[in-house]
């Protein structure tokens, strides 16, 4: 392009001049060509911007060294392992999928860069030793730690951690598609808490639990990875911490942020963040890194939100407590809380016959009241005139049938399976509430319509409607609380 040849030649000379003289130079060189002058000016502005921002002033590999950390190439062999592909990159190294040619299975090979610093090597060794203590279906099994002379020669050695390869995706990738379905949520939460419980039982705290470190296997397995920041504790004294302060903002417990080494309660905190994310698809501490840190430190979390079911909210709240002593003590306690169904025992034990007394009375009285409505409507039917009387009667009958059926069902569960009452109310509560509200609205409206036509029926319907609404909004929550022996069944305040 001869045009560009001219522009670039003029620009080259212009950029050599002091900025003040450039414009005059460009005008002179461009002659009357306005388009060329404009292009010269635009490029000169771009040049100034590039200078100011140090645009490509450093070689790429120097500006972004993590681009060159990768050290293995597909097809390369490390002992019996043939590298197949890069499977992921973590904070400290790269993970490859490799083939164990002796045993004929795929393995994960994690390595730090050739010539890695001593702390990086120490961390990989530490990770291997920590994970090797553990044997649990939710923890990726470590097979070996291998060291070999680098192919590059120069007397360097490279360290490889060989472990179970889990085909699948990280929990982070799963979460990118939104919150988990209820059944998945239970399965994931149970598996992760179970893995933590096993680690804690061995005295190992993970220290860096986050969605990137949980793999959702293609076969349904859920595995915790990366014990690189794990802490081993015997009694209360930490043994051989690798690094004073490391972790991932947004998942670190407040005490971890203040510099304490991770312990099981710090893992419980991270689990709380994970549980919130799995339930809602959002992170509980909104905002950028700084805001996240601040929120975690003050535990000013947005976890009291309507999209969190009451049972999960209670577990999350307990996990995210800024005071470690107020959290579950270890993964085992979390497992127990999760196992008790969506609403955790931490919120209250199973109801007893005594605590259920008023709850049952309430259910039966309200059922009887609902059953009486269609009867009154049937008698009052002629006063509405045709066809309204019949229609309103049928509507009331339908509403009353639904309400009575659901209430009898609740009554049955409360008497026969009191331990399931919490879960059952969580499942049907909303439907019952809507059906009853619809019935009450219908009855109240009918009462108003009958005023001055059939006053006794108007009074009965109107009064029952009001009573039923009060019962729904005030009395029922109270009897439910008494039955479940909790402070509050829905969205308790902090």
């Amino acid at each position: 392009m001869s045009d560009w040849a001219r522009v670039s030649a003029i620009l080259e000379r212009g950029l050599d001049l002091p900025p003040a003289e450039r414009d005059e130079f460009f005008s002179r060189e461009a002659g009357g060509d306005a388009a060329m002058l404009e292009e010269l000016r635009a490029l000169a502005r771009s040049y100034d911007r590039a200078e100011a921002a140090a645009f490509i002033s450093e070689p790429l590999a120097a500006a972004e060294p993590d681009l060159v950390l990768n050290t293995l190439y597909p097809g390369q062999r490390i002992g019996a392992y043939e590298i197949l592909e890069e499977a992921g990159r973590g904070g400290m190294g790269v993970v490859y999928r490799a083939r164990d040619t002796r045993l004929g299975r795929d393995v994960a090979v994690k390595c730090v860069a050739e010539g890695a610093s001593a702390p990086q090597r120490a961390r990989l060794e530490h990770e291997a030793r920590m994970a090797a203590r553990l044997s649990h279906p939710a923890i990726a099994t470590v097979y070996a730690l291998e060291e070999r002379e680098s192919t590059a020669g120069f007397g360097e050695t490279q360290l490889f951690l060989i472990s179970e390869f889990v085909r699948g995706e990280t929990l982070r990738a799963v979460l990118a598609r939104g919150p988990l379905a209820r059944t998945d949520l239970d399965r994931y939460a149970q598996a992760i808490a179970g893995g933590l419980a096993a680690a804690h039982a061995e005295g190992v705290a993970h220290g860096d639990l986050k969605p990137e470190n949980v793999i959702a296997g293609a076969g349904g397995a859920v595995k915790i990875l990366d014990f690189g920041l794990a802490e081993l504790r015997r009694g209360t004294a930490p043994v051989a911490p690798v690094e004073a302060l490391a972790g991932t903002p947004g998942y670190m417990a407040p005490e971890q942020l203040r510099g304490q080494p991770p312990d099981p309660r710090a893992d419980v905190f991270a689990f709380g963040v994970l549980l919130f994310e799995m339930t809602t698809g959002r992170h509980p501490f909104a905002g950028d890194r700084g805001a996240m840190l601040e929120a975690a430190l003050s535990s000013r979390a947005a976890y009291d939100t309507p999209d969190l079911p009451a049972g999960v909210a209670a577990i999350v709240r307990r996990c995210l407590s800024p005071d470690p002593a107020a959290r579950f003590a270890s993964g085992a306690d979390v497992v127990a809380a999760l196992g008790a169904g969506a609403p955790p025992p931490a919120d209250g034990p199973a109801p007893t016959a005594r605590s259920l007394r008023w709850f049952l009375v309430h259910q039966r009285v309200v059922s009887a009241l609902a059953a009486a409505m269609p009867v009154v409507m049937w008698i009052a039917r002629p006063a509405f005139g045709r066809p309204w009387g019949s229609l309103l009667f049928l509507l009331t009958l339908a509403g009353a049938t639904v309400v009575v059926a659901l209430r009898l069902n609740v009554d049955f569960v409360a008497r026969e399976h009191p331990a399931d009452l919490r879960r059952h109310l969580h499942a049907v509560g909303r439907r019952l509430w809507m059906a009853e509200l619809a019935l009450d609205t219908c009855v109240l409206g009918s009462g108003l319509a009958l005023a001055d036509r059939l006053d006794w029926a108007a009074a009965v319907l109107f009064g029952s409607g009001i009573a039923s609404i009060i019962s729904l909004s005030v009395i029922e929550p109270a009897t439910t609380r008494a039955a479940l022996r909790t402070l509050s069944p829905r969205q308790p305040k902090q």
Partner: protein, 174 residues
């Protein structure tokens, strides 16, 4: 992957390796915390990449550098693409605390490597000589003097060409 080794390339490898090692160290010379990252990692990779690629005969050092810079460009762009894909997945990098509290250096300095690579391809179409300077300097890590020696130009010419190429690329990436 399982391509039979090419004897010609194998014979050249020690020389290639030494050359790449030199080239790679110029990459990292200016890097502040380079002590954890030695040039061998990159060199090693370029070496392997050359080993696996089509038969090539390096006529001379300049020829070798030309190929090496191109290979490095390809590796780095692929890496950047892979990293970008990971970031889209929302990976939260693990950091030590003081790092996390410092302003995010990479965010403000970080460059869209894929976009730059594509812009450079467009520059190649209209101005191969200046594009080549960018490839050698930015992807190959050569200094002005080294670039001048490779291209048989004066350092002053390289500098002037470089300035224009930067202006053009900065406008493209705006």
């Amino acid at each position: 992957m399982a391509r039979p080794p090419n004897p010609e390339i194998e014979a050249l490898l020690p020389a290639v390796y030494e050359e790449l090692r030199r080239l790679a160290s110029s990459y990292l010379r200016r890097e502040r915390d380079a002590q954890s990252l030695q040039p061998t990692a990159l060199v090693h990779e370029v070496y392997l990449r050359l080993l696996h690629d089509k038969p090539m005969v390096f006529q001379n050092r300049a020829h070798f550098c030309a190929i090496a810079a191109t290979v490095m460009r390809r590796i780095l762009v692929e890496r950047a693409r892979a990293r970008h894909a990971l970031k889209r997945g929302g990976v939260a990098p693990r950091v030590t605390l003081d790092e996390s509290l410092a302003p995010d250096k990479t965010a403000e300095r970080s460059i869209d490597v894929e976009a730059l690579d594509q812009a450079l391809e467009r520059l190649e179409a209209i101005d191969p000589a200046r594009a080549r300077i960018v490839e050698l300097r930015y992807f190959g890590g050569l200094s002005v003097e080294e670039t001048a020696a490779e291209l048989d130009m004066s350092p002053a010419t390289v500098k002037r060409h470089w300035a224009v190429a930067r202006a053009w690329l900065a406008r493209e990436l705006r």
